[in-house]
């Protein structure tokens, strides 16, 4: 008979039930928000620990508060825009050459078993060398720093694209060639209507991996002589003790990397022909 409100009991069962009733996009959104909140919380804890330790106190600006306010200050500035565009430019050039070299090599590799067997060892060997290990050679071989950086990115992107393409070609059903030939396809039509659509999803899967590696390699590569780009901005912020700005650039790197990956994932989905 009491009018007192019963305290609703916290129940995981109820949460799970509500979650299951949500539409798919809302579930995804909830999960993403939860994940980012956890990340932000860990960052904040890290900040607190750094600040409370006398040895590391000088780096307190790494914490989310100062970093995000530095980021807010950077947004819309010409500096940030130039930094991002020069990095993206290098990535795109590197990726372009990675594709121009990687796709044809991948097609040959996928098509000819003998070539695959011959190339397997040397390619696996070369693939495992960190692209950054080529740095001294790149600096010798290229006149400009930009050239050297793009070379390093090509060294990073070419392998996933080669292997992705080769995998796609190997999956082609030989009957698709036979039928197309039978229907009167010439070489160009075979390429345009059969080979390209057949391997597109695997090529883009390779490109997605390539973008991931290239983005990781880009920052240390930009520690080289150049005076623009995200890697340079990080190095510069370190030298000038602008740790809040440094952390802000790290956030920018993460966001752009995420966006690039999303674009690649969309392309894979657009060109994939397996029905789930």
């Amino acid at each position: 008979m009491s009018n007192a409100m019963t305290v609703e009991k916290f129940s995981f069962g109820q949460i799970t039930a509500t979650y299951k009733k949500m539409p798919g996009w809302l579930q995804n959104f909830t999960n993403a928000t939860l994940g980012m909140t956890i990340l932000l919380f860990l960052w904040w804890v890290g900040g607190v620990l750094i600040e409370s330790n006398p040895d590391t106190e000088a780096f307190a600006a790494f914490a989310p508060g100062p970093a995000l306010s530095a980021l807010w200050g950077l947004l819309g500035t010409e500096f940030l825009w130039d930094t991002i565009t020069s990095s993206l430019e290098r990535i795109l050039f590197g990726l372009f050459w990675g594709i121009v070299i990687g796709v044809p090599v991948g097609v040959i590799l996928g098509y000819f078993l003998a070539v695959r067997q011959i190339a397997n060892m040397p390619f696996q060997f070369l693939r495992m060398i960190s692209p950054l290990a080529w740095m001294p050679i790149a600096v010798l071989a290229f006149e400009t720093w930009d050239g050297a950086i793009i070379f390093l990115i090509v060294m990073a992107t070419v392998w996933p694209i080669v292997f992705g393409t080769a995998h796609g070609v190997q999956r082609i059903d030989p009957n698709w060639f036979r039928v197309a030939r039978n229907l009167g396809a010439d070489g160009y039509q075979m390429l345009r209507r059969v080979i390209m659509p057949a391997i597109a999803q695997d090529v883009f899967a390779g490109i997605r991996l390539a973008i991931g590696v290239a983005w990781v390699v880009l920052v240390p590569a930009e520690y080289l002589g150049v005076t623009s780009g995200l890697g340079y901005a990080i190095n510069d912020a370190r030298d000038t003790l602008d740790y809040d700005k440094l952390a802000a650039i790290v956030v920018v790197i993460g966001v752009i990397g995420y966006l690039l990956d999303t674009v690649a994932a969309k392309l894979i989905k657009r060109y994939s022909w397996n029905l789930e």
Binding site: W176, R181, N182, L183, G184, Q189, P197, A198, N274
Partner: protein, 262 residues
């Protein structure tokens, strides 16, 4: 749609120069226009090889295949082949698959209606915009049939095209394809090891022996379409063909024993 005769003269084939007995030996065959001819024989008798030579996918070691005035040296949309597997392109819709031959020929824009009609004819009106992976095996083979017919071939070559289908779908398609052959006057050559299929579909059945692949006999089937498989005449023809195969086997056996004895 001009139909044609196919002439195969003095054809021999060896896959390997060192082969002792040829894969195909002394094949001479005329295939009348607008009719359905079935090549039957056990696996390895070279019937599929012969079909691929008519299609221009393989070149005979000796002798020639002529379709009308052309000696066949390469594939052409005018002599089209349907395979055991439909081999559709999974990134395309039903319509895009059916239209592919016309796209290759650059005539799709002017012949769009033909693709629609063919898809209606093979019973896929409601599936034209679906991805081919959403179709059943029988429906997929119907798409392949529409694709083969879209280019208006004079000759349609069928390499066991129904063998992967269930019994009901198979017999329905056998009847339909034989009907199409006569309605459109397309010359068809069917390769099969299924005697009932041959009797159900063909105007003429050609019997092949293996090792070496040779033509050992032929039989005309003069039953009206659609054929009733329970009719006494139908059963009689089937039994006749079975008996022919048994004779071949006995002759082979006798030959083998003779060789072993000497």
């Amino acid at each position: 749609m001009g139909s044609s005769n196919i002439w195969i003269t003095d054809l021999y084939h060896y896959y390997d120069k060192k082969q002792a007995t040829p894969t195909l030996e002394d094949i001479n065959l005329t295939i009348p226009k607008g009719q359905l001819t079935a090549l039957i024989g056990r696996s390895g008798c070279g019937k599929s090889t012969l079909l691929q030579m008519i299609a221009g996918l393989l070149i005979p070691s000796e002798g020639s295949v002529r379709i009308n005035a052309h000696t066949v040296t390469k594939p052409s949309a005018k002599w089209n082949m349907m395979f055991q597997k439909p081999s559709l392109y999974p990134w395309m819709t039903v319509r895009e698959n059916a239209a592919l031959g016309l796209v290759f020929a650059g005539t799709y824009a002017s012949k769009k209606d033909r693709v629609e009609e063919l898809l209606d004819m093979v019973g896929l009106s409601e599936h034209k915009d679906k991805n081919v992976q959403q179709l059943s095996g029988g429906q997929q083979q119907r798409v392949a049939l529409a694709r083969s017919l879209a280019t208006e071939p004079d000759v349609l070559l069928l390499d066991e095209p129904f063998s992967a289908l269930d019994a009901f779908t198979r017999s329905a398609l056998q009847t339909e394809v034989a009907q199409i052959c006569h309605d459109y006057g397309i010359t068809m050559v069917l390769v099969t090891h299924d005697i009932e299929e041959a009797v159900a579909m063909a105007d003429k059945v050609v019997i092949m022996n293996h090792n070496p692949g040779r033509i050992v006999g032929s039989m005309d089937v003069e039953l009206p379409y659609p054929r009733d498989r329970s009719e006494p005449q139908f059963i009689e023809l089937k039994e006749y063909l079975f008996a022919e195969f048994e004779k071949i086997d006995q002759a082979k056996q006798a030959e083998l024993e003779k060789q072993l004895a000497s």
